[in-house]
């Protein structure tokens, strides 16, 4: 294997490891009693803590997006099209991807660091020797929680984003709230909404998976906790972008 550069080998080893980790997730997910209580706790932990960041980002995206579009469309006298453009852009693409990336940063590093430090301080080993399955208790619950919370956060941020968009419209283009939202709701269809929600479930899965994988396989020594958290963010962000690409391809075929 000498002739291959080390990072290429690492890449394939990581991919293989991630594949096995995924397999293990599905096996453990369906095996035995589900850890409902712990999953709810994790939803709160990873979801609720991302709320402030997600709220601010969501709101500002809509606000600035509308601000940017208004002068351009004003030239064509097409300002009334902005609610439609905004809702499509935000719901289909910008909301899921930006919030997905934010969650990749916040949740990916959080999960990676938490599991990493549990690994380093032998807490995972301690669970294992007391005949409790740490994979089910720690990993399955976190991945599931990310799959539940990311879509909710995205929908929530989309809403705030549209409110932000309305605010900038009402100030700069004197549009009423009624008109704005009736335009929004008459534009958005099930075909805009469903693929967006489905893909954010996958984003959540990817973020939880990568964060747990990096943390769970953290090597010995405290410095590796930082490495685990950091590489979790990088890998999770990349995964969100890749999943988005795939999701868009698939949804254009189906719809």
């Amino acid at each position: 294997m000498k002739f291959l550069p080390k990072n290429i080998i690492d890449f394939f080893l990581n991919t293989w490891g991630l594949f096995n980790f995924t397999k293990r997730f599905f096996i453990q997910f369906f095996r035995g009693k589900p850890e409902v209580e712990e999953t709810i706790k994790q939803c709160f932990q990873i979801g609720y803590k991302s709320l402030p960041l997600v709220s601010i980002t969501g709101f500002i995206i809509g606000l600035t997006l509308a601000l940017q579009i208004i002068p351009t469309l004003d030239k064509f006298g097409a300002v009334s099209l902005i609610p439609q453009m905004l809702s499509i852009a935000v719901v289909r693409e910008i909301g899921p991807v930006i919030i997905g990336l934010i969650c990749a940063g916040k949740m990916g590093s959080g999960i990676g660091a938490e599991l990493g430090s549990m690994k380093v301080t032998e807490q995972i080993a301690a669970m294992e020797v007391s005949a409790i399955n740490p994979f089910k208790y720690l990993v399955v619950t976190r991945i599931t929680a990310a799959m539940i919370t990311v879509p909710i956060l995205v929908i929530y941020a989309d809403t705030l984003s549209l409110i932000g968009g309305y605010l900038s419209m009402s100030v700069n283009a004197d549009m009423s709230i009624r008109l704005f939202f009736s335009e929004v709701f008459s534009t958005l269809t099930f075909e805009d909404f469903l693929p967006a929600v489905v893909k954010t479930i996958f984003f959540g899965f990817g973020i939880g998976l990568v964060g747990s994988y990096k943390g769970y396989n953290c090597s010995r020594g405290t410095e590796s906790v930082g490495i685990a958290a950091n590489s979790a963010v990088v890998a999770a962000s990349l995964l969100v972008i890749l999943l988005d690409l795939i999701a868009v391809q698939i949804s254009t075929i189906i719809f």
């Binding site: 430090s117 549990m118 301080t121 032998e122 807490q123 080993a125 301690a126 669970m127 294992e128 020797v129 007391s130 005949a131 409790i132 399955n133």
Partner: protein, 247 residues
């Protein structure tokens, strides 16, 4: 094979990369016996304990716990064996996100069907036996290193294991507390007939608790015997452990 063996290790080898840690480990622990392992830091004493509970796998050799060969077991079989084993980690390994009470309740709620009152009693007894009942509602981050280790011990003992593996139970504790812990280990042996392997540098603890002592050096056990026998040993390495002691 003798059937009163709790643990039987045969020809175990283990290396990490190029670092050969265990060369040829052979060890028998009889039921109810308390065995102490001596050896320099970094010689693989913790690695042996981790191999016994299946946290690490040896490169070759067999490890029988009550006749079951640990490296060959399936995950479910391994879990069954682990229920009989208690493991005190060198670092205590308390769950950071839980209070002391939750730490102790955790294995009980998951592995037994005791009711709340019974669990409460057990938690109380276990904490009192390590002298830390007052810490019940604290978080692990609020505890000192020695307290963490004692809570770790309480959490391990609470499930009534048949085999105990102590990784340096008294390191970092003051002499008085060390003695209490040694006495607790002795009590576990006398009252509950627990078989144990105790890794320690604390010769007082060794003297008090050991039925038999083995000395690990360069990946093999170089000698074994009772405390008194080893004390008379001519081997300079073995002697070095007893130096400065006057019992």
């Amino acid at each position: 094979m003798e059937n009163n063996l709790a643990i039987n290790i045969e020809h175990v080898k283990k290396s990490f990369g190029g670092n050969v840690v265990l060369r040829d480990i052979n060890l028998k622990v009889y039921e109810g016996e308390s065995l102490v392992t001596l050896g320099k830091s970094g010689t693989g004493k913790s690695v042996i304990l981790q191999c016994i509970v299946g946290l690490l796998y040896p490169d070759s050799g067999s490890i029988y716990v009550y006749g079951k060969n640990i490296p060959k077991l399936s995950e479910d079989e391994l879990q069954e064996v682990r229920k009989k084993i208690g493991f005190l980690f060198q670092s205590g390994a308390l769950y950071d996100s839980m209070t002391v009470r939750q730490n102790l309740e955790f294995p009980l709620r998951r592995l037994t069907d005791l009711n709340d009152a019974e669990i409460n009693n057990k938690v109380k007894d276990a904490l009192e036996s390590v002298g830390l009942y007052r810490a019940i509602d604290k978080m692990p981050s609020e505890l000192s290193g020695g307290m963490r280790k004692r809570i770790g011990l309480a959490r391990t003992l609470i499930t009534d294991p048949k085999i105990m593996l102590y990784d340096e139970p008294t390191t970092g504790l003051d002499p008085a507390t060390s003695r209490e812990i040694s006495e607790l280990i002795l009590k576990m042996k006398d009252k509950h007939k627990v078989s144990s392997i105790n890794v320690t540098h604390d010769m007082e603890c060794a003297k008090l608790t050991a039925d038999r002592i083995v000395v690990l050096k360069d990946g093999v056990y170089i000698c074994e015997g009772t405390f008194e026998e080893l004390q008379k040993s001519d081997d300079p390495f073995v002697k070095s452990f007893f130096e400065g002691l006057n019992f």
